[in-house]
């Protein structure tokens, strides 16, 4: 173990999820719901619950908890809950409805998700997700979410990468927007009814823990700069993922890790930070000015065919390259899934082929996604009906017409499977703090299949949390916390001091310049492929960059006003800390699985080589002087780990 001692971390006690009932998997959720304490509706009113975030997870949770009778205090940093990052999801949402009669079932969705996550998720959680998935569609339709429909008036579905049934419900290329608007409208109704107190343009900057329990948050009003304190009996974090640690990603610009990182520093374990998903179908970057990357929905892979010229750096326009001089490499390498292989496989294949010199477009960092066949087979109107808005978006960004020339795509950072550790109740290691949606680590394992993040966010918010939170509140024992409690004062002063310190640096470099440098380094050393050497290099550089940031960042303006540079600076300061844990986790996980690909661990065919013997666990990190690694062993009683094969 000489090698590991070089790293600054220690191994702690194993961790277990004590809330998941044993017994047959299809009875566990019912059993848990039945054993959970109930809270009398009249008593619920007396309890305040803070929900941070208004995306699919937070919006659905806030609306449901308020409807159940709790007094909800809700936050988002955007000007309106409707603008949460979930709004950008394009492709669709999975549900085991079997409306197509194509052999789908709860068990199959469960199976696909466990396998797709490369056997790094919990069976109990995933089964529950599959179980409630069908109800999500019912709920959304009842709210007026306009899913795509067939001529007979019934719902339409399509298939997504990594699966062979059509279980994905969608609303043109705007599924996230439509689902979010549904949740937002339900939330709006509760705001009007006085059950939800909404704080838009307000950012959580710390968690308040009193007597070991989460009892509130410290936040900053982004318009006035005022630092405010909010107390409650439970805190729910629904603050989304941390993909923006890479700077260039498909995430909204404001997406950040501050809420979960602050909570981590207060005692919540951070699980599997190195599990990041890279999406294969993004528009390649066009220059150094680029501020973010744009996703082209994976649903395009249903009808688009991916290829590169067989000739390196073939100068001909794609239309002049004859069929037999094209390499449809996914169809060649993975004949039974073809263009619909899971994301990690499609992404790595694109990277490999570009690294080998076959890439197209500027810098050779792109592959073709071609609709010529589909247009010929289905006709342009049908293609337009399915993907019209995506094609328009592509044309707007690249000034190329994808009906006439193939799209160019390249992988980009998209989603983070890691997040705060939660048990089956979605409760973190800090009692009273629950974490839902992309902010937690559960359900997706090492890889997320398409259309399953929306499903998880809504399952957590509409169905799971509302049942498990009752249990926590029902156990009672809440003492009164006042604003002069030492823990409250300490959190509040800490936030003020930190903002003042940031403003006082008054150096020479902009926040963005630090963020870009961090992002580039993370992409180079901890992106689609990782090596011990690269990770070590980055682990040396990140602390240096962090020190430089605190020495040389320049933030104009003051803290008593709308100050977007200050907002960014506080977020980047957190990314600079989180990045280190992410790198460490990637270095310690000496195997390849899903979105985590260590070059040292691959099969002779270049596929991810899992090491189930040593790494079939969740890595849950505790914050401290040195990070402490707690391992949660994973058991597979229903889906037996096999080499994931898509050939």
């Amino acid at each position: 173990m000489g090698e590991l001692s070089m790293l600054d971390y220690t191994i702690g006690e194993p961790i277990t999820d004590t809330k998941a009932p044993s017994g047959p998997i299809d009875e566990r959720w019912s059993a848990r719901k039945f054993s959970a304490k109930l809270v009398n509706p009249a008593n619920r009113r007396k309890h305040r619950v803070i929900v941070v975030g208004t995306g699919l997870a937070g919006g659905s949770a806030g609306a449901t908890l308020a409807e159940q009778g709790y007094h909800v205090v809700q936050f988002c940093f955007q000007d309106s809950p409707r603008r949460a990052h979930s709004v950008a999801a394009q492709g669709g949402i999975n549900a085991a409805k079997n409306y197509r009669n194509d052999g789908d079932s709860v068990h199959r969705l469960f199976y696909d998700t466990v396998k797709g996550g490369d056997f790094r998720s919990r069976e109990s959680n995933v089964y529950r997700l599959a179980e409630v998935s069908a109800q999500i569609i019912d709920q959304a339709v009842a709210q007026g979410v306009p899913f795509a429909r067939e001529y007979g008036g019934l719902l339409d579905t399509r298939s997504f990468g990594g699966v062979q049934v059509q279980r994905t419900f969608y609303a043109r290329g705007q599924t996230g927007q439509q689902l979010l608007i549904g949740a937002y409208q339900a939330l709006s109704r509760q705001i009007d009814a006085g059950n939800v107190e909404l704080h838009p343009r307000t950012e959580m900057l710390d968690l308040i823990v009193v007597d070991g329990r989460a009892r509130g948050i410290v936040a900053r009003d982004l318009v006035t700069g005022e630092v405010t304190t909010h107390l409650a009996d439970a805190v729910v974090l629904a603050t989304g993922g941390y993909g923006n640690v890479f700077y260039l990603s498909t995430n909204a610009k404001g997406s950040n890790a501050s809420a979960i990182w602050r909570a981590h520093k207060r005692g919540a374990y951070f699980a599997n930070p190195c599990f990041t998903q890279i999406h294969p179908t993004c528009i390649p970057r066009s220059g150094d000015h680029q501020s973010k990357l744009t996703l082209m929905s994976e649903s395009l892979r249903n009808d688009g065919r991916i290829w590169v010229p067989k000739e390196k750096q073939d100068p001909r326009p794609p239309s002049e390259i004859p069929e037999d001089e094209r390499d449809y490499y996914l169809e060649r390498l993975y004949p039974s899934f073809g263009n619909l292989v899971p994301r990690d496989i499609a992404s790595r294949a694109a990277k490999n082929i570009c690294d080998a010199g076959y890439g197209v477009g500027p810098g050779g960092l792109g592959v073709y996604l071609d609709f010529a066949d589909a247009i010929q087979r289905l006709g342009r109107p049908a293609v337009e009906a399915r993907y019209g808005n995506l094609f328009d978006m592509y044309q707007r960004i690249t000034a190329e017409n994808p009906y006439e020339v193939p799209m160019r795509i390249y992988p980009a950072i998209h989603y983070t499977m890691g997040g705060l550790w939660v048990d089956y109740d979605l409760q973190s290691t800090i009692p009273g703090m629950f974490v839902i949606g992309e902010a937690n680590f559960s359900d997706h394992g090492a890889n997320r299949l398409g259309a399953s993040a929306l499903m998880q966010g809504l399952a957590d918010g509409y169905f799971v949390l509302p049942a498990t939170l009752n249990d926590y509140i029902g156990q009672g024992g809440f003492t009164d916390v006042t604003l002069d409690d030492p823990a409250v004062v300490e959190a509040q002063t800490g936030v003020r001091d930190r903002l003042e310190r940031l403003l006082a640096v008054n150096g020479t470099r902009s926040v963005d310049s630090f963020h870009r440098e961090l992002g580039l380094m993370m992409w180079d050393h901890c992106g689609m492929a990782r090596t011990a050497e690269g990770l070590r290099k980055a682990l040396e550089r990140v602390p240096e960059l962090r020190a430089e940031f605190w020495r040389d960042v320049r933030i104009p303006g003051t803290g008593e006003e709308l100050n977007q540079e200050l907002e960014k600076a506080a977020r980047v300061a957190d990314f600079l800390e989180l990045a280190e844990l992410l790198l460490l986790d990637a270095l310690v996980r000496e195997e390849s699985c899903g979105g985590h690909f260590r070059e040292e661990h691959q099969t002779p065919e270049g596929e991810a080589a899992r090491d189930d013997e040593n790494f079939s666990h969740v890595s849950a990190w505790e914050y401290g002087e040195k990070p402490v690694l707690h391992k949660e062993p994973l058991n597979f009683d229903y889906v037996h780990p096999t080499q994931r094969s898509y050939t």
Binding site: R83, I137, D512, R554
Partner: protein
Amino acid sequence: MKLTVRVWRQSGPDTEGQLVDYPVDGISTDMSFLEMLDTLNQQLIESGEQPVAFDHDCREGICGSCGVVINGQAHGPETTTTCQLHMRAFSDGDVIDVEPWRAKGFPVIKDLVVDRSAFDRIIQAGGYITAPTGAAPDAHATPVPKPDADLAFDNATCIGCGACVAACPNGSAMLFTAAKVSHLNSLPQGQPERAQRVLDMVDTMDAEGFGGCTNSGECTLACPKGIPLTSINTLNREFLKAARKARK
């Protein structure tokens, strides 16, 4: 490209604002309009000045956060959001005016950032369907004829950006409200609250200080999501019907 951008600078809601000229250099035609503003902001930060505040988030044309008036037009010269407008729409040497949404219903917060929370209050007044969570009927229990579903969908695409209000000479929020009413009222699920919805939403719209609609049609021209003027006819019709019923 080298450009001159004249940006509206206003330090707070109660202070006076003015257009200030800034030269920007090194603008590529592949940049989005917001990336051009990013470039300007980096320049300003380097020279010790305050960067220009503007709202944005997804930068994919879907969250509705971004929105400024460019050369007098809401979201600029093309029918899209500001984040999806690219600099290829401009030429080297251009002088570009950038101002916030201007409307009584949208007070300026700082520079190009305005307060659009009145839109949220219009939705809170009735822009929803009362569907309690947990016990919804099977989604296939109520088939929705495709034409109705499509009509609902077309109106549901509104992103709440507020360009319609900014473009309207009266600062009216009719198109936004009409889109929501048309979305929900054309679905079977939306029927129980149909009349009350439209009355409450229109009431709130008026109370929030948005102007009346005089059918100038500027709103649909500026709308990045193509919400049609016919939705306003729908709103008017629904309102009259509901008002008549309420009077009975």
